[in-house]
Amino acid sequence: MNTIMTALPEQTDTRPEVDALLSVRNLTIDAGTKPDPIRLVQDFSLDMFPGDRVALVGESGSGKSVTARSIMRLDPDFRLSGSVRFQGQDLLKLSDRQMVRVRGHKIGMVFQDPMGALNPLITIGEQVMEPLRIAGVSRSEAERRAKDVLDELGVVNAAARMKAYPHEFSGGMRQRVVLAMALISNPSLIIADEPTTALDVRVQEQVLTLMDKVSKERGLAVLLITHDLGTVAGFTDRVAVMYSGRKVDEATVDNLFEHPAHPYTQGLLQAVPRIDQTVPRLLTIAGAPPHPAARPAGCAFNPRCPKAFDLCRQEVPELRPAPGGGVVACHHYPEAEAEAEAEAGEEQGA
């Protein structure tokens, strides 16, 4: 490991928490019934500032969607603790009715399957207008704004196409419609869960470019959930990595790709086949992530970790400042050393 030698300046975040748009603290999510609840997510924390673009990555089942859905309180069956402050207000303390006014209005949502998000029996126009109509905006005003946002997203001939039904649209066009629904109320944050995963690469690229454009022009913050590290590299500023229900690594996108701190992040990056090079064999991470009801003791990654040692099988590592900036949960980085390195890094950067 050479990250310690080449400590980079640049802390992930030095901005004061009060300015945060979204500030999640120790979000813990339980599912299942009382005698045997299953802990899906443990102590998840994340700050997002206006205009921030943050990626949440990790293998299937690591808890990305559950976390995103719980920020929006979409699953009434989950038991949530911790806090989710959005524009200063703890969403976990709002009533269900108050939450309706946040969801889809102040925070927009885009999910993987555009067909599932759209009602096949209702015209595109009605669906895009719906959030405004619920908020009491007049029909003509809602129509005008729906047309504008579809225009903004490159839907040609928007006025006419608002009369069409979802099945008349291609996958990429449908995802634009879903994006339009998320954007129409002028939210300051969008949570996009695998918005391009089901699309072809070229369509994927178009949709991402649109999200890129819109978020820059509007100063919109985006939480992008994906398992595709390539997508992350071009679109986001910061990356949080989840493993088995915990955030284990967080860094700026440059640091994460150049000097990944967590052994899991290192493994993920090495496993990606590259279009610009071939290797005789891809490097893999052995095994598979544990089931949430059967996590191993200590660091949940220890059975798969090439760097595991005794302590890893006994104690869960806490998140600590990482040598190159950001935070990492790994016993490989001793507390004192990591903090000293982080300070050294800060001085260098100043």
Partner: protein, 274 residues
């Protein structure tokens, strides 16, 4: 020597009250024995229609599909049985391609039974156990059901099932698209190792060009039912000549922030112009 050859294959779908869909137009494709050949293209380009034609599930409107001297659409009797035994398939979604009520032993051993390659139950169980070890599972998994495995493990089971009867040609339709990168790497390595060890031939359908570059020696690019470019994957992917291949390549996300951001900038500029 070519093991599989498609010559001028056309397939047009006629549906009542609709324009006919020309799904395949004069497809010419050769899969050389002992190679891994990639077939890439976007959704709706005709990849699955090619596979279904090879499986005999769709009859081409015109053209020939020859496997080792056998004309597949016309094959009957012994020839058909030979094709069924020697050509095996692995699909994208291992969950729907594996019967959830069967145990791993039954799933993987089914071909051995159907093709009467191993009719003795305990010997068959032993063969299946060997196959499981070969794909990185173990004999402890014999009596489990597919539901209790992860996606990557299920794909290993599907590969073991396809390899059980010693196929000469393995056709994989997007076998790693539904898997995480870490698991994808395991399955790709497994395919590569098995192919090197056993020497079978693979037709590998994919939409991820980086995956194709990693494991295929040759690649054919299909657009709207036509092969637009074909050649050694190193050449095609390093110096694509067809604009469609070039566009596909440009769209592949690059896991290098500097390069990726520059591409994003270019795209934004293009978007403004358009």
């Amino acid at each position: 020597m070519s093991l599989l050859e498609l010559r001028d294959v056309c397939k047009t779908f006629h549906a009542f009250g609709r324009e006919p869909v020309k799904a395949l137009r004069d497809i010419n494709l050769t899969v050389e024995e002992g190679t891994i050949t990639g077939l890439v293209g976007e959704s709706g380009s005709g990849k699955t229609t090619i596979i279904k034609s090879i499986m005999g599930l769709e009859k081409p409107t015109s053209g020939t599909i020859t496997y080792d001297g056998i004309n597949i659409p016309e094959a009957k009797g012994d020839e058909l049985r030979r094709v069924r035994r020697e050509v095996q398939f692995v699909f994208q979604d291992p969950t729907s391609s594996l019967n959830p009520r069967m145990t791993v032993e039954k799933l993987v051993g089914e071909g051995l039974l159907v093709h009467k390659l191993e009719t003795d139950r305990s010997r068959r169980r032993a063969r299946v156990a060997d196959l499981l070890t070969m794909v990185g599972l173990s004999d402890r998994d014999l009596d489990r059901h597919p539901r209790s495995f992860s996606g990557g493990q299920r794909q290993r089971i599907a590969i073991a099932r396809a390899l059980a009867i010693g196929p000469k040609l393995l056709i994989c339709d997007e076998p790693v698209s539904a898997l995480d990168v870490s698991v994808q790497a395991q399955v790709l390595n497994l395919l590569q190792d098995m192919q090197e060890e056993l020497g079978f031939t693979v037709l590998f359908i994919a939409h991820d060009l980086a995956v194709v570059r990693q494991i295929c020696s040759r690649v054919a690019v299909i657009q709207s039912g036509q092969i637009v470019e074909e050649g050694p994957s190193e050449t095609v992917l390093a110096n694509p000549t067809h604009p469609y291949t070039q566009a596909l390549l440009r769209a592949v996300p690059n896991p290098n922030p500097t390069v990726a951001r520059q591409r994003a900038q270019e795209r934004l500029a293009e978007e403004k112009v358009a």
